[in-house]
């Protein structure tokens, strides 16, 4: 089982109890009076059978508050996800924080900002490196790249999953476009691993057919589901944090009701990925304060009030085009706010240039950062020994020193985290050792990982089965005219 990080103090709360109640009440009002569109006759029938009012013409479902609240209570507050290697199983929820690798369309040169489509070898190498990084607990769907040289777009999600399973034993998330969930479910099962399924809305207040079919398939396979709405503040949601919290909440609680109607007790991880729009340019305003305040309110609502585990995606995609000051600042303030406000999962490593690119060297640097942020929520020990009052008395005032004490030798590595890529030299040492920065040091660590890391191979028969499923998928898409 992966340990992740264990929260040992109460999260910061941005809402008062009365504000939590207000947001919840208004969410129920939207769900019962405005409703949510489900683009699937099967889903509409199911929801009608469970007590919702359904308009089959507009495909809008109106949810009775009692059903919404009952469905919330049906969700487990923590659940297990099994890997092909038990050491990489996850227990998602409660007071655990895991980190998920970020992703990008292409491979970025983090010093020049240039991006290009990676080769399959580069894709596989990036997964292999992520497998070696302690702070990466799981992968997103189509990770790390969602364009790979020689792979047709429609085959990308299934091929990408196969490569993650071959080059890593960590848990991964499934995806939903163009029936990919059929192949992803079968590939994961062939590898002896569970997926975290996926159901992503098309805001405002709507679920497309792909999302619904994906949820049916993943839930029927016994997998937990990652639900996300992904609205844009000022575009597909109100521009205010409060308003977009309510509309996003209504979208996600609609998914909760739907999933619990398919199979009560299915594990759900609720993802917050609500991005403000820069209203001057119309661009998405990644890594901004609005996104972060949204996540803090979301974590409080879902973790504290609904008792459903949360994921935060806001720190995955810095706007900066390089691994520079802006990029680290953008990621860090948001990830810190997520961790301190109670997220169970944070998407973080390797993403740069908004959603456009990824780089494994950056993922290595981010390993240090995620370790520091994760350890922040574990706090520190307050005990007789760590308080060291007898030692303080023994050393006394100046010129006493703690340098040569066994307490110092015993405790310093326990209480500190020593980053592996960060520069910790003095200025003269830095000058005399070639002025190496964090990127140079991360590259050295990458060479070390590539030379020494081992991943347990997938059994040969499972490997053959995966190839067979991929061939079947190709045939399927060919028949549909998509290849």
């Amino acid at each position: 089982m992966r340990k992740g990080f264990t929260r040992k103090f109460e999260p910061v709360r941005v809402l008062s109890d009365a504000q939590v109640e207000t947001i919840h009440k208004k969410t129920l009002e939207v769900m019962s009076e405005v409703g949510c569109k489900f683009e699937s006759a099967r889903a509409l029938e199911l929801l009608k059978k469970n007590g919702c009012r359904v308009d089959f013409e507009t495909r809008t479902v109106y949810f009775p508050p009692a059903l919404v609240e009952y469905s919330i209570r049906e969700c487990p507050s923590s659940f297990l996800v099994r890997s092909r290697d038990p050491k990489d199983n996850l227990l998602i929820g409660g007071n655990t924080l895991y980190f998920m690798s970020s992703l990008g369309a292409r491979l970025s040169d983090i010093e020049t900002g240039e991006v290009r489509v990676p080769t399959m070898d580069e894709n596989n190498q990036a997964i292999f490196i992520s497998d070696a990084l302690d702070s990466i607990d799981l992968y997103s769907g189509y990770t790390p790249y969602f364009e790979i040289e020689g792979v047709e777009p429609v085959m990308l999600c299934s091929t990408s999953l196969a490569m993650r399973l071959r080059n890593s034993t960590k848990i991964t998330r499934g995806t939903q476009p163009t029936d990919t969930f059929i192949w992803e479910t079968r590939i994961a099962q062939a590898a002896g691993q569970e997926l975290i399924g996926n159901m992503e809305a098309a805001a405002p207040l709507s679920y497309p057919e792909d999302a619904i079919n994906a949820a049916f398939t993943y839930v029927e396979a016994g997998f937990p589901v990652y639900i996300a709405a992904g609205s844009v503040m000022g575009g597909t949601a109100p521009v205010t944090v409060a308003g977009s919290t309510i509309s996003n909440n209504a979208e996600l609680l609609s998914a909760v009701v739907f999933i619990q109607c398919i199979k009560p007790g299915t594990g759900i991880i609720a993802n917050d990925f609500v991005t403000p729009m820069n209203m001057e340019s119309g661009d998405l305003f990644f890594c901004s304060l609005g996104a972060s305040l949204h996540q803090m309110a979301f974590n409080q609502m879902w973790h504290d009030f609904y008792k459903i585990p949360t994921n935060n995606t806001g720190s995955a995609f810095p706007y900066a085009k390089k691994a520079d000051y802006q990029s680290a600042y953008e990621k860090t303030h948001i990830a810190m706010a997520s961790a301190l406000s109670g997220a169970n999962m944070i998407v973080f490593h390797g993403g740069v240039t908004a959603e456009l690119s990824y780089n494994p060297v950056l993922a290595i640097i981010d390993d240090d950062i995620a370790m520091t942020i994760g350890k922040t929520i574990e706090g520190f020990e307050v005990s007789e020994e760590s308080m060291a009052v007898d030692l303080i008395k023994e050393v006394g005032p100046v010129p006493g020193t703690f340098l040569n004490k066994s307490h110092t030798r015993t405790w310093w590595k326990k209480e500190y985290f020593m980053p592996q890529s960060a520069d910790r030299t003095s200025y003269p040492e830095w000058k005399s050792s070639g002025q190496k920065g964090v990127i140079d040091k991360a590259r050295e660590r990458m060479e070390h990982i590539l030379a020494t890391h081992k991943v347990e191979s997938i059994p040969a028969d499972a490997d053959r089965e995966i190839d067979k499923i991929l061939a079947e998928a190709r045939k399927y898409y060919k028949e549909k005219g998509l290849l």
Partner: protein, 483 residues
């Protein structure tokens, strides 16, 4: 009055109430049994008269618990500090967060990381630049540079204070070395402003004569005092966070007791600047998690138990030698945990390469960082208008849009902060516009600000008086053989 940022969400608590009591009672035990050295006859006499047990030979003062608690109660939870102009007055309190620049020895080259000694003119420009940054509420002492090409070391602090009085209307901090406090207090009075005085310990458990004399002088001038211990975890304090919290607490509470015995009700700003040591190299371990924990515990104890405002200085000094990814992470995670755990002031702006350097470019970038971090503690508004329920109903499910709505136009800038130097371009626009980075944009910002920002000058009488004070200081140090 400077507004700073107003805390609207309750601060994070890393300690439970019994741990906080445990740390407090252990601190009293150290103060009663081990005591603190005061290198001043005058202070020893004062403390003896006030009820302490004093050993005049070892100069160690043992503090009765009742006196410490009584003195902590006498320090106000909020206080005003007068600036040169009323708009820059400060109201330091538990519910306001102010930011200040850091200081660095030398001038940093943003392209290479090389350091050079600044001239007095460059120092004046640095002060003026900080005055032009809206997020700088307060100037540090010997700020921004603490080595100047054309100023002798012993005159540095007085010249630096004069530079701040001439090129900034903000409140500033006084220093304590080599009787500089005499001239600094006189310069502040001449400029018609207050200083926040200083009293810095020489850990473990010791206050040198300079610190004590400075505190007497600043209090005689009616100035509040910045009390700080400044120990090194594993060197001059225990290596553990809990142990270092107790020894640092004993040092600062000893200072508070001394201050309140001399002048009951004198305001105190308690500063936390406790640095872990990298026990592998003996270097100071700036930017480390241990420092973050120490500050969080410190903020909680001083806010909840003693009701005394705090400053946190550790986010000021990144280990990185460049304005790079590591630098931003180191500063940001520490400033975020400081802000969310209840600091009343954070030192942040402009420093790089530990305490060795200051950079105007970094200062302009940090202005954006501060404007985001500060807004976190202000949260967001929840009311009928921001909840936007009617609008959610009007827009309805997909393909509804919030883009053309008045609510969006009216609210987007209220809820977001739009950074000035961070790159907000799409990848295509970024490529087309010359791929400019945050550093390049900040360089332009420095140029523009220095070309346009001119704070209200001192009047002729004030300028004349400051010149006279500096002349007197030179004569004083000449007579002492220090010039």
């Amino acid at each position: 009055m400077r507004k700073g940022f107003s805390r609207k969400i309750p601060p994070l608590k890393v300690l439970n109430s019994s741990q906080m009591e445990y740390i407090h009672s252990s601190t009293l035990e150290v103060l009663e049994k081990t005591g603190v050295k005061f290198e001043s006859e005058r202070a020893l006499k004062l403390l003896k008269e006030s009820g302490c047990s004093v050993d005049f030979e070892t100069r160690v003062v043992k503090f009765p618990g009742w006196l410490v608690e009584e003195c902590a109660r006498k320090a106000p939870s909020s206080f005003a500090v007068k600036a040169r102009i009323p708009e820059d007055d400060l109201r330091i309190s538990l519910s306001t967060l102010y930011f200040m620049p850091a200081a660095g020895a030398k001038l940093h080259d943003e392209a290479t990381g090389e350091l050079s000694v600044a001239t007095l003119d460059q120092n004046n420009q640095g002060v003026r630049l900080c005055d032009g940054l809206e997020s700088v509420d307060f100037q540090a002492s010997y700020c921004p540079f603490f080595e100047l090409k054309d100023v002798e070391p012993v005159m540095l602090l007085a010249e630096s204070q004069a530079s701040i009085a001439r090129f900034s209307t903000r409140v500033s901090r006084g220093a304590q070395a080599t009787d500089s406090f005499i001239w600094e207090a006189m310069i502040a009075n001449a400029a018609g402003k207050q200083l926040i005085g200083t009293m810095e310990g020489a850990a473990p458990l010791c206050f040198p004569e300079d610190a004590i004399n400075a505190a007497f002088e600043y209090m005689d001038n009616g100035f509040p005092i910045w009390a700080t211990g400044g120990s090194v975890m594993g060197g001059s304090s225990p290596v553990t966070v809990a142990g270092a919290t107790i020894s640092n607490n004993a040092e600062i509470l000893a200072a508070i007791t001394f201050i309140q015995c001399y002048k009951p009700g004198n305001p105190v700003l308690a500063n936390d600047f406790v640095i872990p040591m990298d026990m592998e190299s003996g270097n100071l371990f700036f930017g480390a998690l241990g420092a973050g924990f120490h500050q969080m515990a410190f903020n909680q104890i001083y806010r909840d138990l003693y009701r005394i405002p705090t400053c946190n200085a550790m986010a000021a000094f990144p280990n990185s030698k460049l304005i790079d990814y590591q630098n931003a992470f180191e500063k940001t995670h520490l400033a975020m945990s400081s802000a969310l755990s209840g600091a009343s002031m954070i030192a942040f702006t402009g420093s790089v390469s530990q305490e060795l350097a200051w950079s105007p470019v970094q200062a302009v970038i940090d202005n954006d960082s501060v404007n985001i971090i500060g807004r976190y503690i202000e949260g967001f508004e929840i009311n009928e208008d921001t909840a936007a329920l009617d609008l959610i109903a009007e827009v309805g499910p997909s393909p509804g849009s919030f883009l053309g709505k008045k609510h969006t136009r009216e609210n987007w800038k209220k809820e977001y902060y739009v950074p000035k130097t961070f790159d907000r371009l799409s990848y295509q626009d970024w490529e087309r516009s010359g791929k400019s980075s945050v550093i390049e944009k900040a360089k332009k910002g420095v140029h523009e600000l220095l070309g346009s920002h001119n704070p209200a000058p001192l009047n002729d009488g004030q300028e004349k008086e400051i010149r006279r004070i500096l002349k007197e200081a030179r004569q004083y140090y000449s007579k002492k053989g220090l010039l």
